[in-house]
């Protein structure tokens, strides 16, 4: 029997002890032999969030398929346990073996959003691993980061030995083999890191240095050695039908955010919305074959016992064989009493038909993401969705019996004017109007319920908006208030609800997203002051962050509201996601000219991602 790291009394005192006991269905146990490489994958947030993440499940499955590796999991202890562990000096442990994280060879940390950065420090700290990479010795695990935030790793560069840039399936074997070789002849940490930095896609921040101009911008960023690459190209899977995908994902005991089978139908997105980072990072689009999806859907359901399956991709409607695959799923799931959940579908006749088959129309709500309120603004962000298409989709939906609609927008987009802000309310009002025109009184199931939800736009690296200024917190709030007032002035105000997020967290996220190496100290200071779980509004402490920035002599505005020139050396310029900078510059110009750019299916824009010789860029040419 496994011995748990926490004693019964602690487990019975804290909330949800199941977060820490491991032993879930499909979790992997191995015999702990001397030569086994011990790897622990970490999602630096609470268990329910971390367990819902697909990327970790993929790597967990991949690494455990290697006989010489045992990959386990660890998540951030929740606040109640965090306090107990500090007080009683209990080291952080991995879920499967319950062994201390500090005993492992590698700790892999997935970086899905910037607001988890202080939780990385929490995990290292509770594991008794030095927070700064340069203070670690041969005895300590190698700390490696990956995921979307690794594309600008500089704000957290000081805490990591390595970053893995790109899709994880390709280079882990090479990295582990190198590690084994280095161990054979007297392991030396720096020697291993130096060699690792020569593996494609691997970045070792300690082997680079940076100098700055007087104004704080970067002068040069350079490798310290000749044999260390100047530019790091992202890693990418060229055949998505040939890489392993977890057939037996771990099934948590407690309800987690994604309590279902998640099937990734494709990687990448053809659309090229200019605000969207994921759309650029995962270029080009690579679709999985129908046979692959059918096989995995059934096996994953059988192996987990989940009662729901969800399709994952950036824009599912663009998947070529969606209709055939949906027919298959609907058919199979009926037999198995499995629900299907469909995120990210464009609202049209086809998707409404599918949805009416898999959801309770009366209960479910429909989601539109116009992202901007006016056509002009939508042209700037290259969201190829017209008012006509939206209203037409709404009309079809109302005819089909739906009466709950969610509309997602961003405030603070580049070139935004008050007219664009008010346009959001006006569009919502039009949608309500369509309802009252379409559905006769006697057929109405109460009022139409429209929810407008806005987030504040945050410019991200590797997008055409990476040079754009972000708004000030007060500007954001003023815009939100304007929008609220406009909603209340309109005829259909009673059918429309408006929600928006806090502005402060968005500003901080903006600073981290485009931050440089200097930010590491701010994060460290804030953590020491008690910042942790910043993504959770109940724990976010703006004052402490303000203090931390000030004590480090840094100004948030430098990172957020400043417009960069295209000649500036950006902190992430040494990384390439395959899409060329020239393409981003071209798109930035077209945005300012309010010009729409066709998507990959309509016309290739020569963005540079064709270098990978796969996916949509390649398929069409053949």
């Amino acid at each position: 029997m496994r011995k748990l790291a926490l004693n019964d009394e602690i487990l019975l005192t804290i909330e949800k002890p199941a977060r820490y006991i491991g032993g879930e269905v499909n979790s992997v146990m191995k015999e702990n032999k001397e030569e086994l490489i011990r790897f622990v994958m970490c999602f630096p947030d609470v268990y329910e969030i971390g367990m819902s993440h697909l990327g970790i499940q993929i790597l967990y499955d991949l690494l455990n398929s290697y006989e010489d590796v045992w990959c386990e999991r660890v998540y951030s202890p929740w606040m109640d346990l965090d306090a107990i562990m500090r007080k009683e000096q209990i080291p952080l442990f991995a879920l499967e073996s319950q062994d201390p994280v500090s005993d492992f060879d590698f700790i892999g940390i997935t970086l899905q959003y910037e607001m988890c950065y202080t939780n990385i420090l929490q995990v290292l700290d509770l594991s008794n691993i030095p927070i700064f990479a340069k203070e670690r010795t041969n005895e300590h695990p190698i700390v490696i980061g990956g995921g979307p935030c690794a594309y600008n790793p500089e704000p957290i560069a000081a805490f990591f030995d390595l970053f893995y840039i790109g899709e994880g399936e390709t280079q882990y074997r090479a990295l582990l083999d190198l590690y084994k070789n280095c161990q054979k002849d007297g392991y030396d940490r720096m020697d291993f890191l130096h060699k690792a930095a020569q593996i494609p896609g691997i970045y070792c921040p300690m082997l680079y240095d940076v100098t700055y101009h007087a104004d704080g911008t970067i002068k040069v960023f350079y490798p310290l050695y000749d044999d260390i690459p100047k530019t790091i190209m992202k890693e990418l899977v060229t055949d998505v039908n040939q890489v392993p995908y977890p057939k037996k994902p771990v099934v948590p005991f407690i309800k987690v955010t994604q309590d279902r089978v998640v099937l990734e139908i494709q990687r990448g997105c053809i659309r090229g919305c200019r605000f969207c980072q994921a759309g650029q990072l995962y270029r080009p689009v690579r679709e999985r074959s129908l046979d692959f999806l059918k096989e995995y859907a059934i096996e994953m359901l059988d192996n987990t016992g989940h009662e729901e399956i969800s399709l994952s991709s950036l824009s599912s409607s663009d998947y070529s064989n969606l209709s055939e695959f949906m027919d298959f799923l609907i058919e199979k799931c009926k037999d198995k009493h499995v629900n299907i959940s469909l995120p990210s579908l464009r609202i049209d006749a086809f998707s409404l038909d599918v949805m009416s088959k898999v959801q309770d129309v009366k209960k479910s709500s429909l989601t539109f993401a116009p992202e901007a309120g006016t056509q002009r603004m939508r042209n700037v962000i290259n969201k190829g969705l017209t008012e006509e298409v939206i209203l037409n989709g709404a009309r079809l939906a109302f005819e089909g019996g739906w009466n709950k609609v969610k509309l997602y927008f961003m405030l603070g987009l580049p070139t935004e004017t008050i007219a664009d802000v008010k346009g959001i309310a006006e569009l919502a009002n039009e949608v309500a109007k369509v309802y009252y025109e379409t559905v006769p009184k006697e057929k109405r199931n109460g009022k139409v319920q429209i929810t407008i939800s806005t987030s504040f736009f945050i410019p991200k690296p590797f997008t055409p908006f990476q040079w754009a200024p972000m708004g000030y917190a007060q500007e954001f709030l003023d815009k939100a208030h304007t929008l609220k007032d406009t909603v209340l002035e309109q005829l259909n105000k009673k059918s429309i609800r408006y929600i928006y997020h806090e502005a402060d967290v968005s500003v901080l996220e903006g600073a981290f997203a485009r931050g440089d190496r200097k930010i590491s100290d701010v994060i460290y200071k804030a953590y020491q002051k008690g910042c942790i779980y910043d993504a959770w509004s109940e724990f976010f402490k703006q004052e402490l962050w303000d203090e931390a920035f000030e004590e480090c002599g840094l100004n948030v505005d430098f990172y957020t509201t400043r417009e960069r020139s295209v000649d500036e050396v950006l902190p992430w310029d040494f990384i390439s996601c395959g899409v060329e900078k020239a393409f981003f510059i071209r798109e930035w110009e077209r945005a300012k000219a309010e010009t729409v750019t066709p998507n990959c299916k309509m016309q290739c824009q020569g963005c540079g991602a064709a270098r990978f010789k796969t996916g949509i860029c390649f398929d069409k040419k053949n």
């Binding site: 019964d8 269905v25 309800k255």
Partner: protein, 231 residues
């Protein structure tokens, strides 16, 4: 066809609460590929119900759930298939087919038996925890105040303790677990400690539910799986 499964709960699974155990079994039944019946309606659910819920932290050798299958399956086969999909900490102890007129698991629970032990690290030098239990039980009546949702009422605990046995290091209790007089072993221990003029420490006891009982036609207590048969 109605089936009744009996299972145990031990090791790290004692930290999984009742609702999560239900979810665990729903998924396990699917993994085992058993022909479970579903309710009708827009969101059908498995026809599956549990007997007396077990608190977090308690061990058990006698948990029960009733389920309905759409086709016949041998009890041994069903037991084997379910056991194959269990995790460490839950074992399938028996599977029986229920007679058509059997009451459901939850409603037919009449009593439950428990063993209570002292948790490691809580042993006290000043007294042996089982020694005075006979004396405690030989009182004419044991009056306690039981909190209900709205008020509290005084009841005679002795009437609800059907049997007991105090050993050197454990106390066995057979107590009422019916909906009208559901007595938790913790309540008995509290009354016992009060009698000793001591206060139980937090987490002092390790409690194992040993069996769950119903009554036969003659009013005799029989284990819940004695109602069903092998197939």
């Amino acid at each position: 066809m109605k089936y009744r499964i009996k299972f145990s709960k031990y090791s790290s699974m004692v930290f999984i609460g009742h609702l999560d155990m239900m979810r665990y079994f729903q998924k396990a039944i699917r993994r085992a590929g058993l022909p479970i019946a579903y309710s009708t309606g827009f969101s059908p659910h498995q026809i599956l119900s549990f007997a007396a819920p077990l608190g977090v932290g308690l061990f058990s050798n006698g948990e029960y759930a009733d389920l309905e299958f759409t086709s016949e399956i041998k009890t041994a086969e069903c037991k084997k298939r379910l056991q194959e999909v269990m995790v460490e900490g839950v074992d399938i102890l028996s599977v029986k087919v229920l007679p058509k007129d059997a009451g459901n698991a939850m409603a037919s629970v009449a009593a439950a038996s428990y063993t209570v032990k002292i948790r490691k690290g809580h042993e006290r030098d000043d007294f042996s925890f089982t020694k005075e239990f006979d004396r405690f039980m030989s009182q004419n009546e044991i009056l306690i105040e039981k909190e209900t949702k709205k008020s509290s009422k005084v009841l005679n605990l002795k009437e609800f303790i059907f049997d007991y046995k105090a050993d050197a290091d454990s106390i066995y209790l057979l107590v009422d677990a019916s909906s009208s007089g559901n007595i938790k072993p913790g309540l008995v221990m509290e009354a016992y400690y009060q009698f000793l003029q001591k206060k139980p420490e937090a987490f002092e006891f390790v409690i194992t539910r040993e069996e769950t009982y119903t009554r036969d036609q003659n009013g005799q207590l029989i284990s819940l799986d004695a109602v069903g048969e092998d197939l």
